[in-house]
Symmetry: C2
Subunit: 131 residues, 2 copies
DNA sequence: ATTGTCATGAGAACCATTATCAAGTAGCGG
DNA sequence: CCGCTACTTGATAATGGTTCTCATGACAAT
């Protein structure tokens, strides 16, 4: 359980992905990130972007959600657990913290005998700029 | 905006999907439903199952969620808006209603100027039977 | 029964994601 | 530095869920 995975190696590709994620304020798919990196002249493979984002998410360096269409999207993550209000049009995101959700999840889990609880909450809408 | 879509026609295939959904207590994917129908001797195409479930979901006859892996799953739906606690192993489901979530969603939307709000909340865990 | 419209389904197409695996490279010990 | 080894990369193929195509069949209103 305390198995320590080796830390990721520092490569040009990983640095590029990490860098671009700090500049983006919206949830972006792996394909989006790959296209944007290419746009900026970075030489990087699509598979590498997928792998890097998946690993960064596993390591807590970025948040990952699934859009209502089922595709994975990533965004740089502020410290601590939180949820999101996401614009369906442009991906603009606001971090939110619903009161009592964590405690309520635990309570409901106990009530029905469920263990290994996790919860997913995202709000979707249209932001002011997208009318 | 008040456009009335023509009601679905009554066909053997639609009846079969509708019938099986009333007997299932767990979220099932379109592929699951198709396999189960074939098992029971029903002649029905996979595309038809996909179309029928999508339409039933749009018409509010079944609930649809996406598993953490991103695949769509369907389940017969009790009246009224609600959310779910789903067993990751067997799909067993409990309907839940978090207090104040609807009102909180509206409040957060107003606060940030988002419109056309929607929210997605699902709890996942392991049910008593699945240890 | 006629007829216009909608539903069906086998297979192809689509598309996000993951697997392959040979070639490259980071990082460590010497 | 050097060299070794394990990790990373990326072009490409493979996977798998979902949707599209379109010819054929079935519903239902007249
Ligand atoms: Mn939370
Ligand atoms: Mn709700
Ligand atoms: Zn927007
Ligand atoms: Zn279970």
């Amino acid at each position: 359980m305390t198995s320590t995975d080796p830390p990721p190696r520092h490569t040009r590709q990983r640095a590029a992905v990490s860098a671009i994620m700090t500049t983006l304020d919206e949830f972006r798919t792996a394909q989006d990130v790959h296209a944007e990196l290419r746009q900026r002249g970075e030489a990087i493979g699509l598979a590498t972007v997928y792998r890097t984002l998946a690993r960064m998410a596993a390591d807590g360096e970025v948040d990952s959600i699934r859009t209502p269409e089922g595709v994975a999207a990533y965004r740089r993550c502020s410290a601590g657990h939180h949820h999101h209000l996401v614009c369906r049009e442009c991906g603009r995101t606001v971090e939110i913290t619903p009161p009592d959700l964590e405690a309520w999840t635990e309570q409901v889990g106990r009530e029905f005998g469920f263990t290994h609880l996790d919860h997913e909450l995202e709000l979707f809408g249209r932001c002011p700029d997208c009318g």
